[in-house]
Amino acid sequence: MERGSLNPSSQKYSALIWRQFKKSRLAVICLVFVAILAAVAVAAPFIANDRPVLMRYNGSWSMPVLKMPVALRGVDLYELMSNPPAGTWMLMPPIKYSPGSYDLSSVLAAPSLQHPFGTDGDGRDVAAQLVWGSRVSLSVGVVAVGIAVAIGVLLGLIAGFYGGWIDIAVSRFIEVMICFPTFFLILAVLAFVGPSIYNIMIVIGVTGWTGVARLVRGECLKLRRREFVMAAAASGARDRRVMLRHILPNSMAPVLVSASFGIAGAILVEASLSFLGFGVPPSQPSWGSMLSQAQQFMDIAWWLTLIPGSAIFFTITAYNLVGEALRDAIDPNLRT
């Protein structure tokens, strides 16, 4: 019988999902939070820096945040900033500190107007570290999950589409991978290759694809029997076209959900690694290493643990809630 005759509203599938997604206000708030976080990470140099964003010196405009102008070569910028000569105009970022700038005059300062989130044991501004640390967290999350999704989709598609011994091989491989305790595997690998942000991304990505692969394989098995896929085969379409044009787009929605959860997981793994000292080098601020350094001041400087801790907490919660709302949105059983 004719289904859907009650609902002839015209929309793309993505628009349909969005409409469903919007129904959850909390999810939308989380999505906005995630978007702001991404913007902060991208724009970190413009948000927390000890150099001016824009300045006019000796009659020429420059952006010292990005590149030291030629006119300033040999000039002590910090000296200049404290005593600007006439005709000099400067626009400072909202947080006037770099994560690496030590201010030994205010060590372990509690949150104040000058340092909204206080300073750490070396006099570094916590807000600046938090802003720059988001770069590490988010890039590790996104890139690692990107790698995981790429591997998972590829293997899952191939296994589900061709079946037979290929499917058996891939499925057994997935099962073997799942049997490893992932976190200790990552620790072991990092002990060999050395901790750098790139190695972390790759290691998390290479160990985290199994869920996506299983998901895509299942979707593929289901879709392979669908009539539109049969119709494509009947019109002589090659396997690659059937996979990429017909099966993949129709199995992307659940992958997106799993990616959202995956990012949350990867951020947590990165924070844990940094906390244990296997993460990014200490010169690069990250939320995990901030927490790790905060340990020794736990009893006297609450802000050092609370601020990066809640940053991790809220970010992971936001990604998880977005993923959950997405999962509900693509579930046709919940659609009204």
Partner: protein, 330 residues
């Protein structure tokens, strides 16, 4: 006095694209022992009407927003409005007085219990009795619906049975408490024709045997012609024509009924070049119904006033419900 009389039953679905008037002021009555057919195409509101009678409308998005369903619950007292009963009272009516079977017998049965257990459950719920009594009732019911070796079959799980057998089990379960009314929502649509013939025969036989009233909801006019005594034709949430089976099939007066009957290919080879009769156009969007007659856009007899005025029950005074200003023989 009719056993059941439905007055201005109105059920809406509150969806994103607007309020869908799934059942839009439906009134009819059902006598004791009568077989009533409700026919129409998908989206006409026939299933939603049956679900509304059972108060099983999925909520949300649906809600019964108006009307009365008067059921002669006791022989002496006045009729009771089912829509006014508490959930607890309604639960007691459901199954005991008013039972329903659905199109898909597989999904209507619980796969993890044997069919015997499921029928026993229905009996215990409403009538109770000792284990022995219940068990013998179960076997009686299964043999009544024509299941061979019922005592052994009672221990089968739903997946061990064929589609036709499952529908028989559903019927056995529905009839286990001897309800006065059986609502059958497309009971044979998922079945093959030879099995459909068996199930229709069974329904007819049981209806006569039990003196039960039957409401048969279907899209298949052939099925209605075989089983029903009175027929309701629905379109876009409204009853467009109502009459005895002879009136509907021999003198259809509404253009929609006429179109539907013509659209059924006869069981005979037509002369070459004959076109299949159709009703042009599609069912209107129930969330944005046009003013006037909902069938106007597809109607061959449409005139100006059809699109402007609400059509009353019997504007042509033919003596039965024919919702058309220009009701006439084809």
């Amino acid at each position: 006095m009719p056993l059941l009389s439905v007055e201005h039953l109105t059920t809406h679905l509150f969806t994103d694209s607007g309020v869908v008037r799934a059942v839009d002021g439906v009134s009819f009555s059902l006598d004791r022992g009568e077989a009533l057919g409700i026919v129409g195409e998908s989206g006409c509101g026939k299933s939603m009407t049956a679900l509304s009678l059972m108060r099983l409308v999925p909520e949300p998005p649906g809600r019964i927003v108006g009307g009365r369903v008067l059921f002669q619950l006791t022989a002496t007292g006045g009729p009771v409005d089912l829509l006014m009963l508490s959930n607890e009272q309604m639960r007691k009516v459901r199954g005991k007085r008013l039972a329903m079977i659905f199109q898909e017998p597989m999904t209507s049965l619980n796969p993890v219990f044997t069919i015997g257990d499921q029928i026993a459950e229905a009996i215990k719920l409403h009538e109770g009795g000792s284990r022995r009594q219940v068990q013998s009732r179960v076997v009686d019911m299964l043999s009544l619906v024509g299941i061979p070796t019922p005592a052994q079959r009672a221990n089968d799980y739903p997946h061990q049975l064929s589609g036709g057998m499952r529908q028989r089990v559903m019927i056995a379960m529905a009839l286990s408490c001897r309800p006065e009314i059986l609502l059958a929502d497309e009971p044979t649509t998922a079945l093959d024709v030879t099995i459909q013939a068996q199930i229709l025969d069974l329904l007819r036989r049981l209806q006569a045997e039990f003196g039960m009233s039957l409401v048969l909801v279907t899209h298949d006019l052939g099925v209605v012609a075989e089983v029903a005594q009175r027929v309701i034709v629905m379109y876009a949430g409204k009853i467009v024509e109502q009459g005895t089976v002879d009136q509907i099939f021999r003198q259809p007066l509404h253009p929609y009924t006429q179109g539907l009957l013509k659209a059924i290919p006869p069981l005979a080879k037509l002369p070459p070049g004959t076109r299949f009769a159709t009703i042009p156009g599609t069912v209107p969007d129930l969330a944005h119904l046009p003013r006037g007659c909902a069938f106007a856009d597809r109607c061959p007899k449409v005139r100006e006033n059809c699109r402007e005025n609400e059509v009353p029950d019997d504007p042509c005074n033919v003596g039965r419900l024919v919702r058309c200003f220009y009701a006439s023989n084809p």
